[in-house]
Amino acid sequence: MNQNINQTIPINDPFGKASNGKLGMWLLIIVDGLSFAGLLIAGASLRASASSWPAAGEILDIPLTAFNTFLLICTSFTMVMALSSIQKGDQGGLKKYLAYTMAGGLLFLGIQAWEYYHFIHNGFLINSSMYASIFYVTTGFHGLHVLSGVIYIGCILWAASKGRYSANDWDHVEILGLFWHFVDLVWILVFTIIYLI
């Protein structure tokens, strides 16, 4: 049964050596990408019909969020290093880089929570304006993805601590990496459209 789950598509297949799990994650990424696209397009449409709109940085804290963006870029680097480590059979490197990625994700969430706290404290609520609704729904949806990613990393880190992965068995780490990089990739667009434009 377990062998069937981990079955790899034959090498002459159009998708090469990609496992079923990896193809499944790509499918999830495409669907999730379309969900984010729907939110951003809806936001752009509402904005186009609005009579006034705050300028970039008028309400939102751009330097703080730029730091958060930089943080996510760093976690993408640590995540790819985690995969690179286990591909070379370095279990210690895998655990170290996964822990760094998890810490970066938690720090990102902490900064986002701090940002939300200050906005709410200053009366910038989800129902304050159309602008506020778009901001909270889009960044909140992304924040939930970061939270899911952090929990996902925790599960893989726990399995790694039990010696589950090796130089010949790193498929789960690669699949986790795809999800985490997607979270970074989407944030790039969210940051540009919500904060800068």
Partner: protein
């Protein structure tokens, strides 16, 4: 497996530089259209760098690359087309 650490570091540095440039562009006093075009160009470049280098899309087969890159722009175009179609919707 090859050691790509320097490539990954260079990619992270480029992503950070592009983020910095994006912030600078958002404060530039140029036309609104020019600003949006520049910001979106930087964002798409960063997204491609993440996908191509960190997500290892460059190592995937041609079929998988098509599967990855076609649906999202196609979905976005379809949504925009539907939005333009809204004024012509039938009212029952």
């Amino acid at each position: 497996m090859e050691n790509h650490k320097s490539l990954y570091i260079k990619n992270a540095i480029w992503l950070a530089i592009l983020t910095f440039l994006e912030i600078e562009v958002s404060y530039l006093s140029i036309s609104r259209t020019g600003q949006i075009v520049l910001l979106m160009a930087f964002a798409v470049t960063k997204m491609l760098l993440v996908a191509w280098i960190y997500m290892h899309v460059r190592y995937e087969t041609k079929a998988l690359k098509w599967v990855i890159f076609i649906p999202i722009p196609a979905g976005i175009l379809f949504t925009v087309a539907l939005m333009y179609d809204i004024p012509f919707r039938w009212v029952v």
